[in-house]
């Protein structure tokens, strides 16, 4: 259907740093949000306090959230699909690394990137995954195991499930509303017979730092191909190749991208390589092992928050720089990318301000189907409300509610 907006080169957690401008969260215009803010329903077109979508795949999340399409693709390197999914009230799936081909996805961090899937319900995400998953000879990091598309079973009995709650994910910055919804979700599983236990992922606090080093290092390498010679923007300087490359890259990359390239190059300098890059790779193994240990102890699925809070106004978000915001936005999501596991953000409920809050489920590697089965059960239990955009849509809203919520319902 079309292309959507994002943070430039998928670097960011707000979708505010794109060359076409920032993305606005459709929930900014929803009846649910506006009623809580006590804004007049018509007129008063002061569009100054709109909310961010999260990012970096915010355009895709907004498109799905606003009923523009049934499904959209994003990328997920550190949470870039799950973060905007949670803030826009849609389902955001990050498949296991190696399950979906990265051919055609501009590489950011080759060892962590996956295409992400955004839909309004879990069944749709499973449908899209069934289409996309499987070996691609053009991406040698896709596994060769045969993959069949599947229909998710409707789980009725969760008594054999073991849900793990990682205690290190309870950070001081977590908003009390998200915390209480997380707790409520855990109790929901328990009350329906599932085993819910507290688990430990001891290296969680270092995960975001490790991600920062590995991400900037791989970015420094991946962005080196953009020199203007064979494709892309090229400036007019002709004195020398180096001068041309430097000016082209200065013109073509925004501050965020340039900052990451420079940081990455710093970590890759001969004198720093061992202490930063190799060190981060070692820490990555510790983090991946934390997950392996937890899953080996009998846990089927982990339940965590996706974001620290609901969507915030753009004017608030831009008060801090991209790196700081990314470190906050990715806090719960990036460890999953480092371990290569599947994870999905499912919208749970609206906040006191009428904005979506989502929770994240993390599954075992290549157990995407089981992960989505649990997510689907949860989705059915919580019955997340449909966005009400009547004031903008006019009379179309009833059509949306009945027919267009999910492609799966039409079958």
């Amino acid at each position: 259907m079309g292309k959507t907006n994002l943070d430039e080169f998928a670097m960011g957690s707000g979708s505010t740093d794109g060359v076409f401008g920032p993305v606005k969260n459709p929930w900014s215009y929803s009846k649910q949000y506006r009623e809580k803010k006590k804004q007049k329903p018509h007129g008063e077109n002061e569009d100054t306090n709109w909310l961010i979508t999260g990012g970096s795949s915010g355009g895709s999340a907004a498109a799905v959230s606003a009923f523009t399409c049934f499904a959209a693709l994003g990328s997920d390197t550190g949470g870039s699909t799950r973060n905007p999914a949670a803030l826009c009230g849609v389902v955001g799936l990050k498949p296991t690394y190696g399950l979906v081909s990265r051919h055609g996805l501009i590489p950011l961090v080759n060892s962590m990137d996956v295409p992400g899937i955004l839909t309004r319900c879990v069944d749709d995400a499973a449908t899209v995954l069934g289409v996309l998953a499987g070996h691609d000879c053009k991406d040698s990091t896709t596994v060769q195991d045969p993959v069949k598309s599947f229909i998710l079973p409707s789980l009725t009995d969760v008594s054999k499930l073991c849900i793990g709650i990682p205690k290190e994910y309870l950070v001081p910055e977590l908003s009390s509303e998200v915390q209480s919804l997380w707790s409520k979700a855990a109790k929901l599983f328990e009350s329906e017979g599932a085993k819910v236990i507290e688990v430990s992922l001891p290296h969680t606090s270092y995960s975001i730092v490790c991600y920062h080093v590995l991400c900037t290092s791989e970015v420094a390498s991946n962005m080196a191909r953009f020199d203007g010679l064979e494709y892309g923007h090229r400036c007019d300087i002709n004195v020398s190749t180096e001068a041309m490359y430097a000016a082209t890259r200065r013109e073509g990359f925004n501050d965020v991208v340039r900052g990451r390239i420079l940081s990455g190059n710093f970590f890759l300098l001969k004198e720093n390589y061992e202490n930063y890059f190799i060190k981060a790779q070692k820490v990555r193994r510790l983090i991946a092992n934390d997950f392996v240990n937890v899953f080996n102890s009998g846990v089927d699925v982990l339940l965590t928050p996706t974001t620290l809070s609901e969507a915030v106004p753009y004017v608030e978000f831009i008060k801090e720089d991209n790196r700081t915001r990314s470190a906050q936005g990715d806090i719960f999501t990036q460890a999953v990318n480092m371990a290569g596991l599947p994870a999905v953000s499912v919208p749970m409920a609206l906040s006191n301000q009428g904005l979506p809050i989502g929770l994240q489920f993390i599954g075992r590697a290549f157990c995407d189907q089981q992960l989505l089965t649990v997510a689907k059960w949860f989705e059915k239990q919580v019955q997340f409300p449909i966005i009400q955009l009547q004031e903008i849509m006019g009379d179309c809203s009833s059509v949306f509610e009945n027919d267009l919520a999910s492609v799966s319902l039409k079958q």
């Binding site: 309870l170 001081p172 430990s200 730092v209 300087i237 430097a246 200065r250 940081s263 790779q281």
Partner: protein, 147 residues
């Protein structure tokens, strides 16, 4: 049961976030990613120039250098982790064999299409400026760069 554990963990003032211990027993790391002022190491000027030359990307401003310093200070937190005897992890699929295609040519022959992506071509060549001129140092660059 979990409900009791939940009350303990999820209602603890300040959360359980500060309580976890890395092997080094470091204190809790906040989500903000901001280093305390005394943690910010200065990056020497010659390293800045070296980075600009390697990356072929310029800092552009004093703020950008400050951001690098903050990023480095943030990365320094990794020192607290004990990684003795741990092997670096390059890929999560390290236990699998990398797929190799059979060595048969199945696509290509699209020189015209590829050449159309480039700004400057001559016949079947990409045109580049002369390559054996090093990038001038910072102060000299003003003469060369477009304002």
């Amino acid at each position: 049961m979990w409900a009791r554990a939940a009350r303990r963990v999820l209602r603890a003032p300040g959360g359980g976030g500060r309580g976890f211990a890395s092997k080094a027993g470091g204190g809790g790391v906040s989500a903000g990613g901001e280093a305390a002022p005394q943690e910010r190491g200065r990056v020497p000027g010659d390293v800045i120039e070296h980075l600009e030359r390697l990356a072929l990307v310029d800092f552009g401003s004093r703020e950008a250098v400050a951001r690098l310093e903050k990023a480095v200070a943030f990365a320094d937190r990794l020192r607290a982790v004990d990684t003795d005897g741990v092997q670096p992890m390059e890929s999560v699929l390290e236990d699998r064999c990398l797929y190799l295609r059979p060595d048969n040519v199945v696509e290509g022959n699209c020189a015209e299409e590829l050449l159309q992506n480039a700004h400057r071509v001559m016949e079947e060549y990409f045109v580049a400026p002369p390559g054996n001129i090093t990038l001038p140092k910072l102060d000299e660059q003003e003469l060369f760069s477009k304002s």
